[in-house]
C-alpha cells in the first residue's frame, strides 16, 4: 500500500478502502449475533446499514472499528488490520460521549491524541466548530449543551480528525426532528469534504435521504447489499421487503 505525508506529519495510507469482511462471526453467550458475514464495501459517500433492532447493526460497526474483537473470520481495511486502520477513522455513537470540558477542549483533546501540533490544532478546532455551527458555544461546557448540539459537537470532533471513513451509530436516534435535520445537514457538508460514511439507522426516511448504498442485516446475517435506489425500489429478500413495509419480522 502506498503512502503519503499528511499535514500533521503522520505517514498516512492513501486509502483504507475497500473494507473486506470474510466470514465474520460474533457470538455472545453461545448465541450468534453476527453470523458469517462476508462483505466487500467500496468507498461510497454513505453506506447505510439497515435492519430491525437486534439485527446486529451497531455490533457490525464496532467490529469494523475494532472496538470489539470478532469471534471468527477476518476484517481488513485495504489489507490493514482494524487496529491499524482505526487511526484513519472516527466513530460517533448514538449517545455522544463528551468529556467534562468545554466544546473547544473536546475537539482539541481528540487532535492532541492524534499528535496534531498545537498551532494546527487551534485552527482545526475553529474550523470544525464553524462547520458544526457551534462557534458561539466554543467555551461552553460540552455536557450542558442540548442533545442536538452535543451530537453536532461529537460529529465536529470526529470530522476534525480528517478521517477517511466516519462510522456513525444511529447518530440521530435520540434527537427531535429539528435537531435531526441539523445533524443531517452537517453530515451532508462533511460528505462534501470527501469523508466517506458508514452509518446505521432504523429511520427509513433518513436512509432514503442520505444513503447511496444499503447493507441490510437480519438477525446477524447479511441479506442484501447494493445501491440504495435498488434496495428501496426492489428489495431482493422477503425480510427486507417486510422491513420496508414496516411489517414485523420473525425468525
Amino acid at each position: 500500500m502506498s503512502s503519503e505525508h499528511r499535514a500533521d506529519g503522520v505517514r498516512a495510507a492513501d486509502t483504507i478502502w475497500p473494507l473486506v469482511l470474510h466470514e465474520v462471526c460474533f457470538t455472545a453467550g453461545g448465541k450468534p449475533l453476527i453470523d458469517h458475514v462476508s462483505w466487500t464495501c467500496e468507498a461510497s459517500p454513505c453506506t447505510m446499514v439497515l435492519g430491525a433492532n437486534g439485527a446486529g447493526k451497531s455490533l457490525l460497526l464496532r467490529l469494523c472499528h475494532g472496538l470489539i474483537p470478532a469471534s471468527g473470520g477476518s476484517i481488513r481495511w485495504n489489507g490493514l488490520s482494524v487496529e491499524a486502520a482505526r487511526r484513519y477513522q472516527a466513530m460517533v455513537f448514538q449517545r455522544p460521549v463528551l468529556l467534562r470540558r468545554s466544546a473547544r477542549a473536546n475537539i482539541s483533546y481528540a487532535l492532541r491524541v492524534r499528535g496534531v501540533p498545537r498551532r494546527q490544532r487551534r485552527l482545526a478546532v475553529t474550523t470544525a466548530l464553524e462547520q458544526a455551527g457551534l462557534v458561539d458555544l466554543a467555551t461552553s461546557p460540552a455536557r450542558v449543551l442540548s442533545g442536538g448540539e452535543q451530537q453536532r459537537l461529537a460529529l465536529a470532533r470526529a470530522w476534525a480528525l480528517q478521517p477517511q471513513v466516519l462510522l456513525l451509530d444511529e447518530p440521530t436516534a435520540s434527537l427531535d426532528p429539528a435537531a435531526t435535520q441539523a445533524v443531517e445537514r452537517l453530515l451532508e457538508s462533511i460528505q462534501q469534504t470527501g469523508a466517506r460514511m458508514i452509518m446505521t439507522t432504523h429511520d427509513l426516511g433518513q436512509a432514503r435521504r442520505l444513503a447511496d448504498h444499503v447493507l441490510f442485516l437480519h438477525q446477524g446475517r447479511l441479506l442484501e447489499y447494493g445501491s440504495a435506489a435498488e434496495f428501496f425500489s426492489a428489495p431482493r429478500s422477503k425480510e427486507a421487503a417486510a422491513f420496508l413495509e414496516g411489517r414485523l419480522l420473525w425468525s
Binding site: 464496532r62 472499528h65 472496538l67 482505526r86 487511526r87 477513522q89 472516527a90 466513530m91 455513537f93 460521549v97 468529556l99 467534562r100 470540558r101 483533546y109 481528540a110 491524541v113 492524534r114 461546557p141 460540552a142 455536557r143 450542558v144 480528525l161
Partner: protein, 234 residues
C-alpha cells in the same frame, strides 16, 4: 448543667482569644492530617484508577481488599506500626516512634484505602461511559487513566475530603504511635481524650468545637462542589 455551661464559656473564650496551646495543637493536627492526605492522594488516586481500568488476575480480590481496608481499625494499625517502629522492630532504626512522622504514617495507612476505593468507584463509573470513545480516538492506557482522573476531578475531590475527614477525626492510631507528648505529638483528638479523662473540659470542648466545625465545613464544601460541578459540567 452549670459545670457544662461554664466549660462551654471557657472553651469559647479560648477560641476567641486564640489561646496559644489550643492553636499549636490545631496547627499540629492540620499539619499531620494534611500531610497524610497529600501522601494518600498521591498513592490512592492512581492506585484506584489502575484497579478500575486495568484488567489483571486477582483484580476482584484487590477490589474487595480495598473496600475491606476502608474499615481498618485504627488501634490495630497503631499497634502494628508501633511494633514496626519500636526500637526492637524492623523499622526501629529510623527512630520514628513518638514523632509526627509516625502519626502521618499511621493516618496515611488508614486513609489510602479510603481514597483508593472511592477513586476506583468513581473512575470505574466514568470508564463505563468513556471506554469506547477513548478506544475509538486511540487514547493510550496512561493517557486514559489521566483523562479519567481529570474528568472525575470534582468527584475525586470528595474522596480526598472523605480521607481528610477520617484522618482529622482519628485518635487510636496516632495515640499509640505518637504517644500524645505535649508540644510534640499532641493533636486535637488525643488532647480531647486526655483532657476529658483529666476532667479539664474547656480545652477539650474548645478543640471538640473546632473539630466539629472542620467536619461541617468539609461536608458543606463537598456538597457545594458537587452541586456546582453538576450544574457546570453536567
Amino acid at each position: 448543667m452549670d459545670e457544662f455551661r461554664a466549660a462551654l464559656v471557657a472553651a469559647l473564650g479560648l477560641i476567641a482569644n486564640g489561646d496559644q496551646d489550643l492553636m499549636a495543637i490545631v496547627s499540629r493536627s492540620l499539619l499531620v492530617s494534611l500531610s497524610a492526605v497529600g501522601l494518600a492522594t498521591l498513592v490512592g488516586l492512581p492506585l484506584g484508577a489502575l484497579v478500575a481500568v486495568w484488567r489483571f488476575p486477582g483484580r476482584a480480590f484487590v477490589r474487595a481488599l480495598l473496600n475491606a481496608l476502608m474499615g481498618l481499625p485504627p488501634v490495630v494499625v497503631g499497634l502494628v506500626l508501633y511494633l514496626l517502629l519500636s526500637r526492637s522492630g524492623p523499622l526501629g532504626g529510623f527512630g520514628l516512634l513518638y514523632t509526627p512522622t509516625a502519626m502521618i504514617l499511621a493516618q496515611w495507612v488508614l486513609i489510602t484505602p479510603i481514597i483508593a476505593a472511592l477513586t476506583r468507584q468513581t473512575v470505574a463509573d466514568l470508564y463505563v461511559e468513556y471506554a469506547e470513545q477513548l478506544h475509538s480516538l486511540g487514547v493510550g492506557p496512561w493517557h486514559t487513566l489521566w483523562t479519567l482522573l481529570w474528568d472525575g476531578r470534582f468527584s475525586l475531590l470528595t474522596a480526598v475530603l472523605a480521607g481528610f475527614g477520617r484522618a482529622s477525626a482519628e485518635v487510636g492510631a496516632v495515640l499509640i504511635v505518637g504517644g500524645n507528648i505535649n508540644h510534640v505529638t499532641r493533636v486535637m483528638t488525643t488532647t480531647i481524650a486526655l483532657e476529658t479523662s483529666k476532667g479539664d473540659l474547656p480545652l477539650a470542648l474548645g478543640l471538640g468545637m473546632i473539630l466539629l466545625l472542620l467536619t461541617l465545613l468539609l461536608n458543606i464544601t463537598a456538597m457545594a462542589i458537587q452541586d456546582v460541578t453538576k450544574r457546570l459540567y453536567g
